[in-house]
């Protein structure tokens, strides 16, 4: 017994490169509190102050509810579009080697780097009836700028990197042998994609789409310039918050914001839980 104890004493204590758990966790928690939890608490405090009845009245106001609908639909369409297009883009970037691949790879991050207002103004100019694209589209009877489709466009533009950047690494890791195995077993190209490749990408793609969706829910800068902002038709929820702020009605702004916040949080948690379960299967801890 005594010898065992002394052996344990001699054993080196520090095996990690980074200093102990307490310090690193403490620092992380402090910063999370400062930049995430504190503002969120402020938001909730503001809304609590106003009382339940008034809170409900603000968030269920007809114009606000219409904005929820517009925002949800637009975000949904935008993120689904990004799911398809982002997957395609990631596929092209990973699987093919072509001239300008690196440039294209860098361009994918542009929506993150660009101030969203700049993106919004640019899109609005391009798609306005006298803009380059708008002119063309108008000739076949399609109007994008200042309609809900403009919202979709702006949302898709600002959130496409989420899908590409979550799918890309998974695609890179996918071993070509699994595809070849599928082919040697007689599967058609479509079968290989549907049964072998897609299930491997699915969790990453879902995460990408969900991130894209939540980002779209909160998008403001890019959208308001192209949306037209007609009440009940093309007003997004972030704009409703902004309007309340301009009227110095801070509690109302916080109340609407809290709805957006809740929706985003619930979605993110749901995706995380679902993904953890799916990945557990893949990595073998049943």
């Amino acid at each position: 017994m005594a010898t065992q104890l002394s052996a344990a004493d001699i054993r080196p204590r520090h095996k990690r490169v980074l200093p102990g758990l307490s310090l690193s966790l403490g620092t992380s928690l402090l910063f999370i509190s400062l930049i995430l939890l504190l503002p969120m608490t402020g938001l909730i405090m503001q809304s609590v102050d106003m009382g339940w009845e008034r809170y409900w009245q603000v968030i269920s106001d007809e114009r606000v509810v219409a904005s929820y609908k517009v925002t949800l639909w637009a975000a949904l369409i935008a993120s689904l579009f990004n799911g398809v297009f982002g997957l395609l883009l990631a596929w092209v970037l990973v699987r093919y080697d072509f001239f300008g691949r690196r440039v294209l790879d860098a361009l994918v991050d542009l929506p993150f780097a660009l101030p969203t207002a700049v993106a919004g103004i640019t899109l609005a100019t391009l798609y306005a009836q006298n803009g380059w694209y708008g002119d063309l589209l108008a000739s076949i009877g399609i109007k994008i700028a200042y309609t809900p489709w403009g919202i979709v466009l702006a949302m898709a533009f600002t959130s496409i990197p989420f899908v590409v950047r979550t799918v890309q690494p998974v695609l890179e890791e996918l071993s070509p042998e699994e595809e070849e195995a599928g082919m040697t077993l007689g599967a058609s190209d479509w079968s290989v994609f549907r049964r072998v490749i897609f299930p491997a990408l699915w969790p990453a793609l879902m995460t990408g789409i969900a991130l894209s969706f939540t980002r779209s829910l909160g998008e403001f800068g890019a959208v308001i310039f192209i949306a037209g902002n007609m009440p009940y038709v093309s007003e997004i929820t972030s704009l409703m918050i902004f309007v309340s702020l301009q009227e110095f009605d801070f509690p109302a702004a916080s109340a609407i914001a809290s709805v957006v916040l809740m929706a985003s949080l619930i979605l993110l948690f749901a995706i995380n839980i679902w993904q953890a379960r799916y990945l557990r299967r893949l990595h073998g801890r049943n």
Binding site: S175, E177, E178, E180, A181, G182, M183, T184, L185, G186, A187, S188, S191, R195, V196, P199, A200, R281, L282, H283, G284, N286
Partner: protein
């Protein structure tokens, strides 16, 4: 099904992976493609499977010309080096894959597929793991599942790429025997790739030794070992020691060391290849040879004791290895650091620039 390979060649950019080569594989044969990495053995296997297209030549399965047939239509079973199991599918779904993707007309009913899968899993003795996922299996289990999956569509040709490469020695041996049994029972034609000479010699009906995109020799294991027809095969199969000798008064001489030529041997400069068990050891030089060597290491390996020896007073590119039966070693033990004299009993002589070896006996 027999496999006919005619003048198949392949280049990757500037690199000639396969020089035109031909090979005739009989129905029901088990062929081992043996060679060091980069010898083209995996490329050849992938060309047979259809995963890679050949630049020239023709491949025939039985009477069927499959040269331009897509991999999915060749109907071969292929086992990948890293198994390539589908991670998101259960073991049973993995095995069923080949049946599930059959065109509707040929596809068996779901209950029939289930029955076939269970039968295959029984065959590989892993029926109890049907609902597990690949990540929950050990390497040996994954290998067997990969085999069951490849056999599900009842291919007549089974191709295996380094099938036992990633397994530990014991499991490898067990699986080797099991695969041989399965092959004999089901009667498919198998081609497997390996860099392990022991595996190739133990498992195959014929071994194809490859180097630099060429076939060096095709022979049955016994014949291959008895009469290697090139330096490469000699080097690659069965640890040979090389004595570089220059003719001098009926002796091959290398600085201080010499070996007396056996009767009838051609008086030429060249290399003498001697296998590690074809020696005797003594404390002094003999009439036949003066080859002083210092004992560097003594390793008991299985039935034999392996001595590693470094030349004293002469030169050799590699360290020499000698295998002594325990009985011989125990009678006259040597110690590390001691200098011993060895005398070859049999060997193969490659004259300078000669392709063929001359077998020698003293």
């Amino acid at each position: 099904m027999s496999i006919l390979i005619e003048h198949i060649s392949k280049t990757f950019g500037q690199f000639q992976a396969l020089s035109p080569l031909s090979l005739d594989i009989q129905e029901g044969e088990m062929i081992g493609l043996l060679g060091p990495s980069g010898s083209g053995k995996t490329t050849l296997l992938r060309i047979i499977a259809g995963l890679e297209g050949a630049d020239t030549g023709r491949i025939q399965f039985g009477d069927r010309d499959v040269t331009n047939l897509h991999v999915r239509d060749r109907r071969v079973g292929f086992v990948f080096q890293n198994y390539a199991l589908f991670r998101h599918m259960t073991v049973a779904d993995n095995v069923a894959f080949g049946l599930d993707v059959l065109p509707r007309k040929e596809r068996p009913s779901p209950s029939e597929i289930k029955k076939r899968v269970m039968h295959l899993l029984d065959m590989v003795q892993l029926a109890h793991l049907a609902n597990r996922f690949p990540s929950q299996l050990s390497g040996g289990q994954k290998q067997r599942i990969a085999l069951a999956r490849a056999l599900a569509t009842q291919p007549e040709v089974l191709l295996l790429d380094e099938p036992f490469g990633a397994l530990d020695a014991k499991v490898r041996k067990e699986l080797r025997r099991w695969l041989r049994g399965l092959h004999d029972e089901l009667g498919f034609t198998s081609v497997f790739v390996t860099h392990d000479q022991e595996e190739a010699l133990e498992l195959s009906d014929r071994v194809v030794v490859m180097s630099n995109g060429h076939i060096e020799q095709v022979d049955q294991p016994g014949a291959l070992y008895a009469s290697p027809n090139s330096r490469f095969v000699f080097d690659f199969l069965g640890n040979a020691n090389v004595f570089e000798g220059k003719i001098e008064n009926g002796q091959w001489r290398n600085e201080q060391a010499h070996i007396v030529l056996p009767k009838g041997a051609a008086q030429q400069n060249g290399q003498l290849y001697v296998r590690s068990h074809e020696f005797t050891v003594s404390e002094t030089a003999t009439d036949q040879a003066n080859l002083p060597l210092k004992v560097v290491a003594i390793n008991p390996i299985g039935a034999e004791v392996r001595l590693e020896l470094s030349p004293v007073g002469w030169h050799s590119k590699d360290i020499w290895e000698m295998d002594l039966p325990h009985k011989v070693f125990d009678k006259k033990p040597v110690e590390k650091g001691q200098t011993v004299f060895v005398t070859p009993k049999a060997g193969y002589f490659f004259a300078q620039d000669a392709k063929q070896a001359e077998p020698l006996h003293w």
